[in-house]
């Protein structure tokens, strides 16, 4: 009992244990007790677990939704495509090898019209390898209406939505 208390109140050891847990287990561990909660909510441990399945280089930004760190399925990510003249949802679907429906759903588009009122569209990822060694930016997309880990294929997010 004694060393049980010692181990599970030892910050160092808990950190090393938690570093080995995937996000879903980390989220459950956070509900065990206060100490576990504070360690499992540690930014470094969370981002490590978030990055590791996808071999991401880094995740930048702070999510406002506490649920963000709970899981990192591929649907968490999207590519930011800056719209230029001539782009259509269909052409983007071809360009990025994804389904038209998936682009529409991710961006909450009801029709094909009016994509030029937007500066960009989010493109779902088709292959996990697209994330290798990439940097993601956590953004609350105004159209998707949820927080997405956004990937910029050309340059950084400098030109990202001014809002």
């Amino acid at each position: 009992m004694n060393s049980n208390v010692a181990v599970f109140s030892c910050w160092d050891i808990l950190c090393i244990i938690f570093e080995r847990l995937p996000l879903s287990d980390l989220a459950r561990a956070a509900c065990v007790c206060r100490l576990w909660n504070s360690i499992a909510s540690d930014r470094e441990i969370q981002t490590r677990a978030f990055k590791s399945p996808w071999k991401l280089k880094d995740v930048i930004g702070n999510p406002s939704s506490r649920g963000f760190w709970r899981d990192s399925c591929l649907g968490r990510f999207a590519i930011s495509h800056r719209l230029v003249k001539g782009d259509t949802v269909a052409s983007l679907a071809v360009k990025y090898s994804v389904q038209v429906m998936d682009i529409k759903r991710l961006n909450n588009m009801i029709s094909d019209h009016g994509i030029y009122s937007r500066e960009r569209l989010l493109i779902p990822l088709s292959k996990p390898e697209q994330l290798h060694n990439k940097i993601c930016y956590i953004e609350l997309d105004e159209y998707a209406k949820r927080e997405v880990a956004v990937l910029y294929l050309e340059g950084g997010p400098d030109g990202k939505l001014a809002s």
């Binding site: 049980n4 287990d25 459950r28 509900c31 909660n37």
Partner: protein, 184 residues
């Protein structure tokens, strides 16, 4: 090869003997040895006599046996000579046997109850024995993976110290999570 003996004293004043080469598996002991402040017996106030033999057993297996001496013996002089293919194969085979044997040893070594696991984790952390820490921590992690918070608490005998309000909040986060992904 004969090696200098080191004496370790447990928290309950029992003395154990260990070869210096084995003791070097521990960063902490290595620093004490290299620091030259070795004064007969090294006191380990954080390690009891129940657990110290188990630690020593690990060090004996890994201390002098981290491959460095073997590599020098095999590849040191003959490095520039032509390497025969069957020689390589033999070496590969031996290496594989060694790894398999070590895995089996680790499996048997790690067969103990939870109490020992905690003590061993603490000792490995205190003595900076990386391999042992990895081994024990991995076992602890495997006892968390896929379990609910209740199961984890029961498993490790931890009491929840959240207030009812906080518990409530945690259920809310859970719901928020479910809602967000209801579309997918």
């Amino acid at each position: 090869m004969s090696s200098t003996k080191i004496f370790l004293k447990s928290s309950d004043d029992k003395t154990f003997e260990i070869d210096e080469t084995a003791a070097r598996a521990s960063e902490t002991l290595k620093n004490i040895i290299d620091g030259g402040c070795l004064d007969g017996v090294i006191p380990l106030p954080n390690v009891s006599s129940n657990i110290l033999p188990k630690v020593i057993e690990y060090c004996k297996k890994h201390g002098g046996d981290n491959g460095s001496s073997k590599k020098i013996a095999n590849g040191g002089v003959d490095k520039d000579k032509e390497i025969l293919p069957d020689y390589d194969e033999e070496e590969d085979k031996r290496e594989k046997v060694r790894v398999d044997e070590l895995k089996k040893w680790e499996e048997e070594y790690m067969d103990f109850d939870q109490q020992v696991l905690y003590d061993l984790m603490l000792a490995a952390n205190y003595l900076h024995i990386k391999g042992l820490l990895d081994l024990t921590v991995e076992k602890a992690a495997s006892m968390i993976r896929g379990r609910t918070p209740d199961q984890i608490r029961e498993n490790f005998n931890i009491n929840s110290d959240f207030t009812p309000e906080e518990e409530e909040e945690m259920i809310l986060i859970e719901d928020e999570w479910d809602d967000e992904w209801a579309f997918d």
